[in-house]
Amino acid sequence: MPEPASGPDRAVGAALARWRRLRRRPETWLFLVILAVGTLFGLMAPGFLTLPNVIDLLETYSVQAIIAMGLFVVLVSGGIDISFAATASVAQYCAALLASRLGLPAPLVILAGLAVGVGLGCVNAALIHHLRITSIIATIAMMSVSFSLLMYFSGGRSIYDLPDWWTSRVVFYRAELASGDIVRVTLPVVLMGAMALLTWALMTRTSIGRQIYAMGGNPEAARRVGIDVGRLTYVAYGYLGFAAALGGLVQAHRVGESVPNAMVNTELAVLSAAVLGGASLAGGVGTVPGVLLGIVLLAILQNGLNLLGVSPYFFQIVIGVTILVSTSITVLSSRRGRRLRTLGEAPSHG
């Protein structure tokens, strides 16, 4: 049926097809919305589009972004995890205990913290894969178990005497602008970048990443093709555990102390960012840039409203409306134009 078209026609067709595909991507829309909102805030709030403000924003949201990278992998695999905030808190607190009570050296502490995160992630994977518990139920249960145990054993006490290597600020790049403002690229921002890059490479450039996409798209087919679905479940939840632990460590680094319940209630914000960025709860869909854009949108909304003097309490309303509007538009626009064509395709004679 399709005939080989001549050169230029084909190029135009390909470009058109690419645009059509691009137009349907949530990332494209998200990017446009961010541009619009950013411009608006830039015009209305003079301090908004300044480099220090932007860098500040990045640092504030680095913890959420790091964890969102892990959650993104789990969402792509077709699962969901509610327990990551608890995981982050547990990993952070364990590491803080090791550092302040036992005075272990930095590499050991960091390694131990990350190991706790990966371990908790693997417990989730085991519950989901071997015991066949739905991911949302398994992780809700794990969240209450691990967070409550943390509160029980810590008695809710914060650890303030973190060692200096943990809390002292690490600045990778520092410059003074003509305006006199100082721009610093700090450890959280660098880690966020590294984590995004790592996740992006893992998911788009390696076999296992593509397998995770395949599994999220059609688990049954993945099994038939010979993909080891159990191993992927461990990889996805283990990776989220790792990301959560890293986020927990960075969070303590930023605030200089370990508070057992500091990360509670970030679950929904991180999930919103991932979903805004186009990761689907049904699995198999989503990109790292999309998730980052989701975080950026939430960040500039909060910061911009803040600079405009809007009450911080108003922010949650904005998040709610943003989630409702963006998800509705995505679903509704993909539903349009899906009519089975029988008239045009069937032979009209004979």
Partner: protein, 497 residues
């Protein structure tokens, strides 16, 4: 038969699941590069046979030889390595990935952190599609492809995995005639490359025409293998069922009966156009045509699921404005969907609840409650009237056989006391005994004054049940026949022409 070793030879293969003997002492062979049909009714052991050859189910007894060499412990990986590929009916594709990634998915099965060979995968996909002479947009998402192109993608994936024997499970079930032709052209090409293709089907359709040999299965046994030229459709039907189905023609002249449902110039863009028909009281009207001729779409519009974009529907002379299927049911129109498993029944729920679902409103008492006793009484009454064999009203409907499930669907709709009953391929996946039972129910209804529209792929079925048969093609009604006046053969010629 030549002395050449067949690609696949199985000897004395049996397979038992618990107490069920799914395969009994099957000897079978597939030659290199042949097109072979494997037919049989649902539950005859076809799928078990495929899965045994694909290494999914190890046989309880017997041997499997590939290329003349026995393969003692076949597992799916080994079967694939030996060139056996199965294209399941659901195609097992990844809708969220591109054509390239689907076709060359095997390339991503290597070590976890190995970089994805993008260029390599592209080359593989391009080459395979070129071999099939079927250029697809390599970067299109599979979710965006029409069914026929998805099928090509699945075949291409099999080829990319170096298939030498491809099983295609019900490959034509959802294709239009033109698409089937394209598929058959591709199969011819595969044969040219020395790749054997086995079509698996429970229906006798056009695929039989391109095959060289045909194997019939029944009750877990192989009935036999014949060159296709030596068996005709009727003989195959007999071999499949073990019953000689000699349908008499039952057509009655209903021209004197008052018109019940009249459709005038009904159209819906992209689906069907300018459809006019009259259904009389007590008449059984057949609609035949290929899958994709717009039959189901027409039925859905008559049932109020989709809005007509032109034309009128009149019930006993009164204009019907159907905004939803609730309007249709209220007016006395019922529709038995062709997709029993996902649209006809709520499989996990109980038989009783499925039976009362469409008439819940009628069961309410003054308090708005549905007393358990009334529900059970109604359900029991219909189970009795349609002779459904059930373990109990509380058993999930999923546990019933295909035939009994279909009786439950019929009962559910008859409970709404319809005046017009639309049956869409009502005997697909139903065994021969239940088929006859369903035809009897239809005849009974017609005697009681219900107008029945029966949509079917099988001319024989409509000839055995209908008073008049309409022929639909490409969204239009193109002919009408009275069974007996026109022979079954003539009608088939018209449809498959």
């Amino acid at each position: 038969m030549s002395g050449e070793t067949p690609f696949l030879r199985i000897k004395g293969v049996s397979k038992r699941f618990g107490g069920v003997q799914a395969l009994i002492d099957v000897d079978w062979e597939v030659r290199r590069g042949e097109v072979h049909c494997l037919v049989g009714e649902n539950g005859c052991g076809k799928s078990t046979l495929i899965k045994t050859v694909a290494g999914v189910h190890p046989p309880t007894a017997g041997t499997i030889e590939i290329d003349g060499r026995p393969v003692p412990s076949l597992d799916p990986a080994k079967a694939k390595a030996l060139g056996i590929q199965v294209i399941f009916q659901d195609l097992s594709l990844f809708p969220n990935l591109t054509v390239v990634e689907n076709v060359a998915v095997e390339s991503t099965l290597g070590p976890a952190l190995r970089p994805v060979q993008k260029a390599g995968m592209r080359r593989i996909a391009g080459e395979v599609l070129a071999r099939l002479d079927f250029p697809l947009d390599l970067d299109a998402l599979v979710a965006d492809l029409p069914v026929a192109e998805r099928q090509i993608t699945a075949i291409a994936r099999g080829l990319a995995a170096k298939a030498r024997l491809i099983f295609m499970d019900e490959p034509t079930a959802s294709l239009t005639r033109a698409e089937v032709d394209r598929l058959l052209a591709i199969v011819a090409r595969l044969r040219g490359d020395g790749i054997a293709v086995v079509f698996v089907s429970h229906r006798l359709d056009e695929v039989v025409k391109v095959a060289e040999r045909l194997t019939v299965m029944r009750d877990g046994r192989k009935v036999g293998t014949w060159p296709v030229a030596e068996v005709d459709q009727r003989r195959i039907g007999h071999l499949m069922t073990g019953v000689d189905v000699e349908h008499g023609v039952v057509a009655r002249d209903m021209r004197a009966a008052p018109p019940l449902l009249a459709v005038e110039g009904l159209s819906r863009r992209g689906e069907f156009a300018d459809v006019s028909l009259t259904l009389r009281k007590g008449e059984v009207l057949g609609i035949v045509g290929l899958l994709g001729a717009g039959r189901t779409e027409l039925a859905l519009t008559l049932f109020g699921m989709n809005r007509a974009e032109g034309g009128r529907i009149l019930l006993e002379g009164r204009d019907l404005a159907l905004r939803s299927n609730r309007d249709a049911v209220r007016a006395g129109i019922a529709y038995v969907s062709e997709d029993r498993l996902s649209l006809g029944l709520v499989l996990p729920q109980s038989i009783g609840d499925n039976l009362v679902l469409a008439v819940m409103r009628r069961l309410k008492n003054r308090l708005g409650l549905m007393p358990q006793a009334r529900r059970r009484a109604l359900a029991a009454e219909w189970v009795e009237r349609l002779k459904v064999t059930i373990p109990g009203l509380d058993a999930p409907v999923r546990t019933l056989s295909g035939g009994n499930q279909q009786r439950v669907v019929l009962a559910k709709w008859l409970a709404t006391r319809p005046r017009v009953l639309i049956l869409d391929s009502p005997t697909v996946g139903v065994d021969i005994k239940n088929k006859q039972g369903i035809y009897e129910v239809v005849a009974d209804l017609a005697r009681g004054g219900v107008g029945v529209i029966l949509i079917s792929d099988e001319v024989a079925e409509t000839f055995a049940t209908c008073d008049r048969v309409l022929h639909m093609r490409a969204g239009r009604i193109v002919g009408e026949a009275v069974p007996g006046v026109v022979s079954e053969h003539e009608m088939e010629e018209r449809i498959y022409a």
